[in-house]
């Protein structure tokens, strides 16, 4: 039986279809707006919302001496971290992410065996500021702790073990001033110039070579993208740009010699600088007292800083390059050269009576009754004050000053090192600027002629003077082995230098500095210096020795060396400093280690 379709059904269907069609059309139109018209906007919004950019630090390069001995390296520091994201969900009533993490840290502390480095404040701060990044709960985890952790890590979610690079100075205080120290810095973003959400703290050189070669050692920052969920917890991560490791720095420094020098300076205040006279390669740059750069890792804590800064001995001061001392008698070879340049002959005999009289002022000689008549070589040998006063006075201020400056005094040495004091070679203009009495007086010249007065030089400058006296070349010292040699000939006739060297040889060969050559398997010339500083009760003596050594047939090393050492509050250059210089030279040249 056929029947008619119901009118009611048709009308209902028609109306309903109208409503449905309208509804689905509205949906389609609105979806089109969101998915087609605004698609790009939504997509970029999603991108910015869903990942965080992290600037990752590159591994810092190491510093090695000329033989490859590590002076500054990266030590792997094992860290136990916890990812807050593991605690974001499944919370029970009254629990917060913070309380859950604290509870997990407590539980983990029982396993690791020591309380976490991150307290409740640190956790709170981390959740607020660095939610997307793992929180470092324990640093410097020992293997034992790590083993306990690994066995039980599954009990608590989100824990992981990461290796973090920490600066380490395996030689301790050795060459501490040269290497310097590092600090941790948040760097401004480097890659792309765009905003980073997190910037990993990076090691930055704060002093010494760490600072000088910071850009070279530091490498390039990388970028990591941490994908986060809507609440900011990390869900996954990917490396966008690998951080690039910094370069290693190879030094000219000789860790063995450096160690001997530091041993000789141990317990004293003083410094020693030694360079290869041929190219200016710095072999020793020792300052005492020193500090341990490991104390400044991971950060220089304020109590350590206070202790170092308040120490009257100034252990942070790099005396070898920044300590300026009156060179004393080690300046006399320069006076001698000035005299020769002024037309005096080395053979001229001067009668030392024990003092040089200058307008009523007496400049005493070391030997109270005088040395009697002697020539230049013997005057150097005995370090006769009146001789050099007279010679300097005769040569004149200009000659002495010009010669001193020819040896690089009064100027920075140009070493690739942050501290490089210029010292002082006083002249009339300098005195007028710095002193109440602006007049350049004969006494100033007399004092300068024997290395006193306002004359100031660093040990490194004096090592350079020794190198120039021995080789006839003024070098620019350098610590980075890759730097080319930079030197220029001294504007001093070779014959004059020969005369002075003869005297300097006699210093070591039976003269005031004979102890510097005792038992050294090398040809050593040198000059002692005992500079008096202060007056009255404060009167002290800084004792110097500068030496220039060339190898002989028996020598172990085939390299010459120029060296200067100063010791504060010593007895005399010949007595205090010369034997210490001898120890360094023996370490360098003698085949058999001296029995100690």
């Amino acid at each position: 039986m056929k029947r008619e379709p119901s009118l009611n059904g048709i009308v209902s269907f028609a109306l309903l279809t109208l409503v449905f069609s309208a509804g689905f059309t509205v949906l389609a139109v609105r979806l089109r707006v969101e998915q087609v018209d605004k698609a790009a906007q939504h997509r970029s919004e999603m991108e910015t919302q869903s990942f965080r950019r992290v600037q990752t630090a590159g591994l810092r390069g190491g510093i090695f001496d000329r033989w490859g001995t590590p002076l500054a390296v990266n030590r792997l520091s094992l860290c136990i971290t916890v990812d807050p994201g593991a605690y974001r969900g499944g919370r029970k009533q009254g629990e917060t992410v913070e309380s859950r993490i604290m509870a997990a840290l407590e539980g983990m502390a029982a396993i690791v065996g020591r309380p976490p480095a991150a307290g409740v404040e640190a956790v709170r701060r981390h959740l607020r500021v660095e939610l997307a990044r793992p929180l470092v709960a324990w640093r410097d985890v020992t293997e034992e702790e790590l083993a306990r952790f690994s066995e039980n890590a599954r009990d608590y979610p989100g824990f992981d073990c990461n290796a973090d690079a920490e600066r380490s100075y395996p030689q301790g205080t050795l060459a501490a001033h040269v290497i310097g120290r590092v600090g941790r810095d948040r760097l401004p973003p480097v890659s792309g110039g765009e905003r980073m959400n997190f910037v990993e703290k990076e090691l930055r050189g704060r002093e010494g070579l760490e600072m000088q070669y910071d850009d070279y050692l530091r490498g390039m920052a990388g970028e990591e993208r941490v994908f986060v969920d809507a609440r900011g917890f990390a869900t996954s991560r990917e490396t966008v740009i690998e951080p690039r490791h910094g370069f290693d720095l190879r030094l000219t420094l000789d860790a063995g010699l450096q160690r001997v020098a530091e041993r000789e300076l141990a317990g004293l205040r003083g410094a020693c600088a030694a360079i290869d006279p041929r190219d200016g390669a710095v072999r020793i740059l020792a300052s005492a007292p020193a500090f341990d750069p490991n104390e400044c890792v991971p950060v220089l804590r304020s109590e350590v800083y206070r202790r170092l800064a308040d120490d009257p001995a100034q252990p942070m001061l790099c005396r070898a390059t920044a300590g300026t001392y009156a060179p004393g008698s080690t300046f006399k070879p320069i006076t001698a050269l000035a005299g020769l340049a002024a037309g005096h002959s080395a053979a001229e005999v001067y009668e030392c009576t024990g003092a040089y009289e200058l307008g009523g002022m007496k400049i005493r000689c070391a030997r109270t009754w005088g040395h009697g008549g002697m020539d230049m070589a013997h005057a150097l040998r005995e370090s006769c004050n009146p001789y050099f006063c007279a010679l300097g006075m005769s040569a004149g201020s200009n000659a002495v000053i010009r010669t001193a400056r020819a040896f690089g005094l009064g100027q920075r040495t140009g070493i690739d090192f942050p501290t490089d004091a210029a010292g002082v070679v006083p002249d009339a203009a300098w005195k007028a600027e710095h002193f109440a009495d602006p007049k350049w007086r004969p006494g100033d010249l007399a004092q300068m002629s024997m290395g006193q007065g306002q004359l100031l030089a660093t040990p490194l400058q004096m090592a350079r003077v020794a190198a120039a006296l021995g080789s006839g070349w003024l070098v620019v010292p350098h610590l980075n082995e890759a730097l080319p040699a930079e030197r220029r000939p001294l504007a001093v006739p070779a014959s004059h230098l020969r005369e002075v060297r003869r005297g300097m040889r006699m210093v070591v060969d039976g003269g005031t500095g004979h102890r510097a050559g005792d038992g050294v398997d090398a040809y050593v010339i040198g000059k002692t210096g005992t500079a008096q500083v202060g007056y009255g009760a404060n009167r002290r003596k800084n004792t110097w020795f500068i030496a220039y050594a060339t190898p002989t047939a028996e020598s172990r090393s085939d390299e010459p060396i120029a060296l200067a050492m100063v010791i504060e509050d010593g007895e005399s250059g010949g007595g205090t400093t010369a034997p210490k210089v001898a120890e360094i030279l023996k370490a360098m040249y003698n085949r058999k280690e001296p029995a100690t």
């Binding site: 209902s12 269907f13 389609a28 698609a39 939504h42 999603m46 809507a230």
Partner: protein, 389 residues
Amino acid sequence: MRNFLKNFNWLSFAATVALIAAGAAALASAGAARGSAVMAAKWQDMLWSSAFGLALYFTLALTDYRKLLDWLSAPAYAGAIVFLVAVLLFGTVQFGGRRWLWFFQPSEISKLCVIMFTAQMFGCSHEWFKGQTGFRGFLAACVLAGVPCALILMEPDLGTALTLVPAVTVMLLAAGVWRKGLVALLAAACIGATTLLGAVHEAEKPGVPAERREALLKYVPLRDHQISRVKTFLFPETDKMAAGYNLRQSKMTIGAGGLMGRGYGRGESIRRQLLPPMGIMNDFIFCAWAEEMGFLKGSLLLLALYAVLCISTAWTAVVAEDGRGRLVALGMATLLFAHTYVNIGMTIGLVPITGLPLPFLSLGRTFLVTVLCGLGIVQSVSLHREEIK
């Protein structure tokens, strides 16, 4: 058999199967992105439920719906009320609502029960309910739909309660129950809703003094969280982090799909948990699907399937032999449409955000099986008819 092949609503069935497939695909992708084995296996769960639902679908389709309604509508309705009371007493609390009883949600089943009972009452002109097409009939309908609605509202589950209202309204209109009054009431409801929205708009718009806001909201019969949802609906841009957050996230996720989508299994929103993890496979599954498949392959195709399903279901009203069948078909079509429209509409800000599953796509076995049963009954209406001239 020849009758079966001829009268079977193939279009509706094809759309149903296609939607089941789309749902399984969407859940498989979303579950995999959730990164947990349980969630990754949910799509199989849903396929098994679909198989079970389809078995019921055919059983019901082959059963004469007249007998079914005669025998089952009243007990099913009574059972629904009992379960709804039981869930309030013994149910499991989840996400702020007491909706679960053992393994199912009675509120979902009750929708079908109410539709069946309404169809039975107003469609077959029962001897004890003959000619009740006036106001009395309307009151009766209000009571029979209002009791389960009230119980569902107590869970509370506003969305589910609200989908019943259009379904029952459409059925009453089609049955001719108090038609003039109902139309007037609908008009009044429209005005009322507009006034309500206007009041909230006036109270919550920026720069309104607190006293005035209080005074205005005193007359708005909504709870605080509902007001905040309405407010978010009205001013989505004012509230980016709290109540408007879900809307912003869902719009962003959908929009990021673009015209062609990111590709199946390559959606970012779930992996990065830009949407609430629990919502993404339920109420916000459309976002994930739209992001992966894009406007053309995802949104439009899905809308087309829903349109085919709704309209072909409604078409059964045309071929239905009697009023009961007509009402069941219209009720089911409206229910499906309401669910689809509200669910998708809320993800793009057309409708205030309310928890409501998207048929076939959202995780939820109770609702899936309920919908399949309902469609099965509609199919039965289509099968059990006499030839039309």
